[in-house]
Symmetry: C2
Subunit: 485 residues, 2 copies
């Protein structure tokens, strides 16, 4: 019982702090005079009030959260924040159901960026900013999750990254580790965000759009203030800037930190994922650019290259912006780049999917097995970079990928069971579990998730959380073992 009160205390604190983030939409609302000020003020008060009440009631139980309760903390953090954040949306958009609002905020916090809202261009600015801010806060959470919490919990082989963060903390308790790691990496995240805002402004965006899109770029969330997404701006400069920042955000922020700290690019070459990621993206862009050139969809090779580059980077990093309706392209391209969103983002980035290191590890394991068919007695450890990987980690990674795969199969069949067509169902699950955003067909880049019924909407929202919490973190809560003793 005491454990749960300790958890409640932490969640109460977080809820209070989250209340502070309402300041930004409140300021926006006042500036644009869009009539939402009252809603956000009410939301802020409720957050701080309820959070404060929870924290003060459980104050006597404050203390360190045990490792095992990390699973609960993480799951409740995302559920609670997403629930709380629905209030301004429901108050501000008449007729929006809780289901749809929860989908939208969960999509924001998990940096999925799928939307059930149409008419974004005419939405109150403060509500749009709110959506983008959720993306950005989600990104903060993910960095902590990926670099500090999951390695500690040992989810899906992430213990590999346990000792990698520079800093003095080698503790097994959650709190000090989170604090220290978060501080360092958040600094990078904030700095890049500011740089992105300024760059987008210089490229011609309004300050408002620059802030919103920097929020959803750095978090790889992919929300936009326009139904046409980045296609609205029709600006090669903006596309280029966003492309660069999406690539940066798809890499490990610990690598960025080390590189900035040492003023050196060497950390990127030591990062076992950075170069493979660039390689995958570059190969895909080249292949698809030549492929689409062959179809004469664009007047010349360079126009094709422009659209292919942006949308490939956007999907492969799991951002989910679009600069054109890429579904009119031959099906090979949209499917390929949607598939990439599952494998390309690096560990410790704000991206989703299985993460590149797991894909690399799987690849090497298959190679090792081929080799050992011919040399059954040779010892041949798998290495990532120069580190030999323990069997324990390989097992964890393989089990992770299997559970991820099972989730995709189960969720796809469940959506099909509810009557969704196979392409929409499968692509929606891929887009949600990889936190990408747009799928294909009825949930494609030219459409959105508004037409889903309530059950389908909940399924997709759960799938986003499942992907964001790397499957195991959520699934473990449903095992009897977790609740025993």
């Amino acid at each position: 019982m005491q454990r749960f009160c300790t958890l409640a205390f932490v969640l109460g604190l977080i809820l209070m702090i989250f209340g502070l983030t309402y300041a930004l939409p409140i300021a926006t609302s006042i500036y644009f005079d869009d009539g939402m000020t009252e809603h956000f003020l009410r939301g802020m008060s409720l957050n701080i009030g309820v959070g404060g009440l929870l924290a003060s009631v459980t104050m006597q139980f404050r203390g360190d959260v045990k490792t095992r309760d990390g699973y609960l903390l993480v799951a409740f953090f995302w559920l609670l924040m997403a629930s709380a954040a629905t209030l301004p949306l429901m108050w501000g958009i008449p007729g929006l159901s809780f289901t749809d609002a929860f989908f939208e905020t969960m999509s924001g916090f998990t940096t999925t960026g799928a939307t059930v809202l149409t008419g974004l261009d005419s939405l109150a600015p403060s509500l749009n900013l709110w959506r983008h801010e959720l993306n950005w806060i989600g990104g903060l959470g993910i960095i902590v999750l990926a670099v500090a919490i999951l390695p500690l919990l040992g989810v899906g082989g992430m213990q590999l990254y346990k000792a990698e963060i520079p800093g003095p903390v080698k503790d097994s308790k959650l709190t000090p580790r989170i604090t220290e790691t978060a501080r360092l990496l958040w600094m990078v995240y904030v700095a890049y965000t500011l740089l992105c805002i300024v760059s987008l402004k210089l490229a011609g965006m309004s300050w408002f759009d620059a802030v919103c899109h920097a929020f959803s770029t750095l978090s790889l969330g992919g929300f936009s203030t326009h139904d046409a997404s980045i296609g609205y701006f029709d600006s090669p400069a903006i596309e280029l800037i966003i492309t660069v920042f999406m690539m940066l955000s798809g890499m490990n922020f610990a690598t960025h930190y080390t590189a900035l700290h040492n003023i050196s690019v060497k950390p990127y070459s030591l990062d076992p994922e950075a170069i493979p990621m660039l390689g995958i993206i570059a190969t895909t862009i080249l292949l698809c650019s030549f492929y689409i050139w062959h179809f004469d969809i664009y007047p010349d090779f360079l126009s094709g290259l422009r659209y292919i580059s942006f949308n490939t980077v956007s999907l492969a990093t799991g951002t989910g912006y679009s600069s054109t309706n890429y579904e009119v392209w031959p099906a090979f391209i949209p499917w390929l780049i949607l598939f990439l969103s599952g494998v390309t983002p690096c560990t410790g980035s704000t991206g989703g999917g299985i993460k590149l290191f797991r894909a690399l590890l799987l690849w090497k394991q298959a190679g090792r097995e081929l080799f050992s068919l011919l040399h059954p007695h040779a010892v041949n450890p798998i290495r990532i970079g120069h580190t030999p990987i323990a069997n324990k980690i390989i097992f964890a990674v393989l089990a992770f990928i299997f559970l991820y795969f099972i989730s995709i199969v189960l969720m796809t069949f469940t959506l099909m069971f509810t009557g969704m067509d196979p392409v929409s169902a499968f692509s929606a699950v891929m887009a949600c579990i990889n936190n990408t955003g747009p799928g294909l067909n009825t949930v494609g880049p030219a459409a959105n998730y508004a037409h889903l019924n309530d059950f389908q909407t909940w399924l997709c929202a759960i799938t986003m959380l499942l992907g964001r919490l790397e499957v195991f973190t959520l699934v473990v809560l449903f095992t009897p073992t977790f609740w025993r003793k």
Copy 2:
């Protein structure tokens, strides 16, 4: 060099023996007077002649095939047989290209049962019998492959089944093991085939159709003498008989042998795959029958149950017969039963896919990982039945499944690259790699593979072989390690 001559000798012998199998279509052709006698006689002479020549030239190198050359033997066996078997088809069907003929014979030998031929009902009986005989011979080959050769080579964790066959042979040379194991299991296969022929005849088929369909049932090949497949007969009795024999063929023939040998059903309860397989099939049939009942497609629950049962067992075991165009059903059902063809067939059966024991092992590995997240120091070996499974085997299985998955992804994208639509491309790859036969959409149960261009046809034929040889056996031939020294 000597190795290759030894191999050539074995292949020459096999080609000669294969020549003898032309006797059946020759007899059929004479009986029906369908004008194909000459073609089959010529084919027979060529096989025996070329095979005899090859064997006599390499006679001096005869001896035991080394384990490592088993990979080459297996790959060349399937390629050589499929190539040789095209001759009667090309001579007998004017205008049939080698590509299409090879697809058809490879589909036969791998017991895939996908066809490029339309107008089966009016095809010369001896040609139809030939197709079905290829299915049946393929089944013979698969039993040897799965129970004697793959375990010896150690492909994908199959070494688990190394010691399981009753019999005196514990040798590490290929030849005696094959001979002894094959003899025992082939007896069961032949006995079941005869039983199936008689049952189908009693249920109202002609002797010709009974023989053909027994051939393609026991081998889980799924070729039919009618474009409408089993739907042509519209007979519940025939469907029931075929359903029973498909289920039997989807199980381990070693279990059948032990059960028959001991006159006991206990071996089935000791077989770690038999009961899960029945469970999966029964659950699917119940679920889908109620689902389709809800849609009012059939007048009553029992009619739905009839069609669901037959087509579920047909797809789940990887046979690929259809008793109706199940693609008019809600997409959930055809996709589910197509998916099952990848996991349901048991080791040592004539089915394809990853085999049930690998799926079970993966499932248990994921469960173990979940458990060890909460109890990091507990030792918790995976067991299949009562046997604890060594890490080495688990790694092999996981690598196998990954390579299988990679193959599906690569082949699907390649087919899409050639312009095939995503549903046809993915389902064709699933249907070919799992040796099921019909896919969905343009390669669905109401269509066939005739409209594929040459490149697509070759890709599908390779995919069948890849699936049949459990991926590794074929892929290993393309590694530099294999050819070194």
